[in-house]
Amino acid sequence: MKAIIFDSGPLISLTLNNLLWVLEPLKQKYKGDFFITSAVKEEVVDYPLKTKKFKFEGFQVLKSIRDGVLSVFETDYVRKETGKMMDLANNIFEVHGKPFKSLHYPELSVLVAAKEVKAEAVVVDEQSTRLLMENPSRMEQLVKKRMHAKVFLNRQCLEEFQSAMRHINVIRSTELVTIAYECGFLNKYIAKPTTIPKPKEELLDGLLWGLKLNGCAISEREINQILKVERKR
């Protein structure tokens, strides 16, 4: 199925940077579906609508759903399988004889939904989910360093988890916005060279740093690498 599934983080990073609108032209270009699970909707819409601080941001994401840019995807399979994935993922590492519970229902529901619809990618900004999928040994080192304790790795759980997540590709809001930039969707923000030298590059720099400073787990080094790639295009 031609689909991309979003975790909460990218929607939050994009909204806080006034970039949620970019999903619409991206979706038109993609010619597929942009999904979120109901657990993600609860986090980015239902919860903030009950608060004061991010209520308007919740409304903005809700509008994207109402306008059909994002669709809520929920099945019995997602509900049941997410529970199983939680048991697996949260038993991969053990510290002091206790399972190290690093992942939560919403982010795992995204991965399970991606598996069910055979999505082409999931968009995940936060670090732990990506690390567990892409580099579990690095995750192990991180936990060991931070917890100042030995970490036991349950290989069977890890292998089962990795096998389940095998064909799922992870991208971030930063990659999405870079593609939007390449497609010219953000050209309206390019200033004249008399206002700022290298306006296109400065715009992309601003976009990526904005996303980073609002929670996308991208390093300064990675931002510089993206800028370098775009300079050569």
Binding site: I12, K53, S102, L103, H104, E126, E175, E182, A217
Partner: protein, 182 residues
């Protein structure tokens, strides 16, 4: 309550009571370091008690730092009582006492109240970030600290957490994303 968590909380409260019993320079920093000590248990056990204690201790450190709390006795006594309940294994009363201390912090002064509520909220967010640094996901950390992911991500972005890890293969990820949209 897990026995290790209980012993750890008792140890933290004992040290906190000692600090609050004598007024010395650097008290706020000592209390803040105490809060960091509880974070390991908060991360591992993800239990309500470790999280409450870490937030409470951190919030106290910020209020001490800003000079909002000058007389420690007002907080030392209820903390001593909380300790006694915990020592007696009366977990329910211990938790009620902690809640009363939170209310005490919030109700100090009507002018200060907003500031103090802000401090408590800030303490929750800071502790949430600390838990994220230990490898727990954003969503999980937000749930444990009873805050929204929106608040946590805003704060997380300003830390150096993402910079501490080895970079992923940005070029491949970008190439892959580009292919999705062509």
């Amino acid at each position: 309550m897990d026995s290790k968590v209980k012993e750890d909380i008792k140890s933290v409260l004992t040290q906190l009571i000692t600090i609050l019993s004598r007024k010395e320079q650097g008290d706020a920093l000592k209390v803040k370091e105490l809060s960091n000590h509880v974070i390991h248990n908060a991360t591992l056990f993800q239990d309500e008690d470790s999280i409450s204690v870490t937030v409470l201790v951190y919030a106290l450190s910020k209020l001490m730092e800003s000079g909002t709390i000058r007389e420690y006795g007002e907080f030392r006594k209820p903390i001593e009582t909380a300790y006694k309940f915990l020592n007696r294994n009366d977990v329910e009363r211990f938790r009620r006492r902690l809640r009363k201390i939170f209310v005490l912090i919030s109700s100090k002064d009507s002018k200060l109240r907003l500031y103090v509520e802000d401090v408590l909220n800030h303490a929750q967010i800071r502790r949430g970030c600390k838990i994220c640094e230990h490898g727990v996901s954003c969503a999980k950390s937000a749930e444990l600290l009873n805050i929204s992911q929106w608040e946590l991500m805003q704060y997380l972005g300003k830390t150096r957490l993402a910079d501490e890890l080895k970079s992923s293969d940005v070029r491949s990820r970008l190439r892959f994303t580009r292919k999705l949209f062509t």
